[in-house]
Point group: C2
Chain length 158, copies 2
Amino acid sequence: MGTPPAVPDEVTADRGPGRTRAAVDAWEAVFRLQATLLRRFAADDVWQGLGLREYDVLHTLSLQPGGHARLGRLSEDVYLPQPSLSRLVDRLERDGLVRREDDPDDRRGVVVVLTAAGAQRQREIGGRHAASIARNLASMPAEDLATLTRLAREALGD
Amino acid sequence: MGTPPAVPDEVTADRGPGRTRAAVDAWEAVFRLQATLLRRFAADDVWQGLGLREYDVLHTLSLQPGGHARLGRLSEDVYLPQPSLSRLVDRLERDGLVRREDDPDDRRGVVVVLTAAGAQRQREIGGRHAASIARNLASMPAEDLATLTRLAREALGD
DNA sequence: CGCAAGTCCATGCGTTTGCATGTACCTGCC
DNA sequence: GGCAGGTACATGCAAACGCATGGACTTGCG
């Protein structure tokens, strides 16, 4: 990057129209990346009949201590409106992957618990999914991968 | 091709478990960033009654020369299955933002054309949306923004 | 030409989504 | 205690989704 800039600070300055352009470019690039990868992952044959959202719930539960979480909290973690999650949990419960329990501390509350079958299913899918992620990002140098991770996190205000 | 590698490349040829972990971290960070921003954008009061996907179609059309594109091509550009887009276009057409025309070169084909009202609407929404994007990424230094853009593009194999 | 195979878009149909709302419960104030 | 207001989850309902399929047209090959 030794070439002198044809146009001074306008481009790298924090304000001005170029700044908005840069932000829009970043958003579009991130959006496109996410959409493309999501599509490829969805096409993977590793989901054993459940959708990405269903898996995300199992995955999130598997990260909770005890494998259980309040429905409302889960709703925030998986970025799904509460009524949608409520019905999604209906389906998971019907399939025996998850179980609803009363919250002893708050009788309005419902605790969603991962069953043994659910935990098992999550591990199976998770392993294959992780492999697919690595495969789909194989073209990136490890250092770029780390930088991408850092910047994506920082973009959310740290 | 230049000099052969005198030393096995530990850094860029990393194939260990850490590599998968790094890829998964990157995916999760990107996914989270996209989901969070998307949520904020959706909450913006700039959409004038139409959804993000509808806007994406208008936006994509506005980038095409002549403001028109074949339905199938559009379907790929906006990452929406063809039947879903077909019905989405039904709605846009009903609202007068878009118009269907026969493709003179292929009578199976349908060309989706942005109407004047559609182009107008796209510009209004687009301006406010761009401002919102800039606002939501305001915490990022311009250089990081550029790096994020570059890496997100490179991640797709480039 | 004539027909088989392929492409493009629309539509039937069952599922999922999300908003608005309902019911049960908790909390704070009197 | 008792009531007002708030919170947590479920459900009615209309809209949107996507898969599978259908009808129209094009292409390639004998």
